[in-house]
Subunit: 213 residues, 2 copies
DNA sequence: ATGTCTTTGTGAACGCGTGCACAAAGATGG
DNA sequence: CCATCTTTGTGCACGCGTTCACAAAGACAT
């Protein structure tokens, strides 16, 4: 039976082993003292807690450059997400297959959502169309939205929105980049914002997100 | 002179006004008591601190579906980032313009980086090519990398990596989605992971990032 | 069975970010 | 020039997540 110790996992993830053990403990006592965690069992338990054991139908709205790229992204399926439908407002696209899935027209948005029991929607339309599309998705029953358009969406309580903004990612890099240059800028900034720990990379607790476009 | 109070800004951003004031105080005392902050001046100061007042040349490596979408993204330029070059390994693409910029071959990667003084690189190649491409970028002088390939990159000290992973964004949504269903799952999970505050949306301090693909 | 050795699970201390509350600053009006 | 009112800047306290440290659990060898 292949096992891992919290120490090994912590080293690989670049975090503290005690923290890792405490986190796991919230899911239950799945470890064996003196041995470690059964890898297969642990992966299953975490997957289940994260909601990865069930199939999540997803719709993508706005099949332009970005939407098409997302539709083609294989990493979707490997984590339990299934592209249930592609939706676009352009009549010329209707019926045309992208990544093997025929694009459907926005007119049928509500029906598509309901027929497929979709609760997660991805918005990749131009900024101006994002809020209206969002409203229709929510009205049709979608309660989680991944937004790629550079707009802050307004949604009712109970609906989750996550915004992916490439510009902000680049800004964070530029911010650190500027510091590497070692210039003496006026203000003092708390060291907390300084750098990332080895092992972690990506959107973690970092940098506030307050700035207009 | 148009001004804003910390109270107004805090309400708009969905954060506490005291926190906002304290954050601003790290940049210096730019406010006027009894009045608020001079909007234009404040924006400039924050932009400067974030490194947005200077021009950041960026290269994108891997001009496939995603890379092309990124090259077309207008939000780039509006924040001070300039696409200095597009690079791909496919000889058939060399010279072909994408978003008005001719694609160049990976053979010239080092020269392109150096000629343009690029310090920020975007990787949108298949997963297998990401690490080798990363190594070449770093060797050529790039010290900040935005990685879209589903791989954890290994880099020397002093190089920053941010990974954008659509799957993880969807997993976070699915996790919360599962909870809304209100099912009684076995383990107890700390309420901290529960929900997002009104006003914030997107990659903030949330959810640990430990899980294999 | 008993002892030893490894690793978990967790109580307790620590540190840090967040929020409260208020004194000081400065604008504004009389 | 003084009084008043608004809003900043910040000391301080609270709360929460992280980390330390260790007792208990259990595997494994003798
Ligand atoms: N967040 C990021 O990092 C990032 C990166 C690139 C692009 N973007 C954004 O993603 C969005 C899409 O970018 P793109 O390059 O694919 O643009 P695009 O113009 O290529 O595609 C937009 C698509 O949306 C469709 N559309 C327009 N209105 C619609 C509506 N009301 N309902 C349904 N579909 C509609 C159009 O027909 C088009 O196919 C833009 O808002 C862009 O700013 C974000
Ligand atoms: N993070 C996300 O949310 C997300 C979303 C979609 C895709 N992706 C990932 O982004 C990457 C690109 O996706 P895509 O759909 O554009 O794939 P794609 O196959 O359309 O494009 C890949 C491009 O990279 C080029 N390439 C291959 N090897 C190269 C090398 N060594 N040097 C330079 N260029 C090279 C290819 O010629 C091709 O043009 C993949 O790794 C994919 O998994 C990530």
């Amino acid at each position: 039976m292949p096992t891992v110790s919290s120490e090994e996992l912590a080293a690989a993830a670049g975090v503290n082993s005690a923290k890792l053990r405490k986190d796991f403990s919230y899911l239950g006592s799945y470890g064996t003292r003196g041995v470690g965690y059964d890898v297969e069992y642990l992966v299953y338990q975490i997957s289940r807690e994260l909601g990865l054991t069930q199939d999540w139908p997803v719709v993508i709205v706005g099949i332009g450059n970005l939407g098409a790229a997302l539709a083609n992204y294989g990493g979707f399926a490997s984590r339990g997400f299934r592209v249930a439908a592609l939706i676009d407002a352009d009549p010329a696209m209707a019926g045309k297959p992208v990544a093997g899935i025929p694009v459907q027209h926005t007119d049928d948005l509500e029906k598509i959502i309901q027929d497929n029991g979709v609760s997660i929607g991805v918005i990749a339309t131009p900024a101006g169309a994002a809020q209206p599309v969002c409203d229709r998705l929510v009205a049709a029953g979608v309660t989680s939205i991944l937004n790629f358009a550079p707009t802050v969406l307004t949604v009712p309580d109970g609906v989750d929105v996550r915004k992916v903004d490439l510009s902000i990612e680049l800004q964070i890099l530029a911010f650190h980049e500027q510091r590497k240059a070692g210039e003496d800028h006026g203000g003092t900034v708390p060291p907390a914002a300084a750098h990332q720990e080895p092992g972690e990379q990506g959107p973690d607790g970092d940098v506030p997100a307050v700035m207009p476009a």
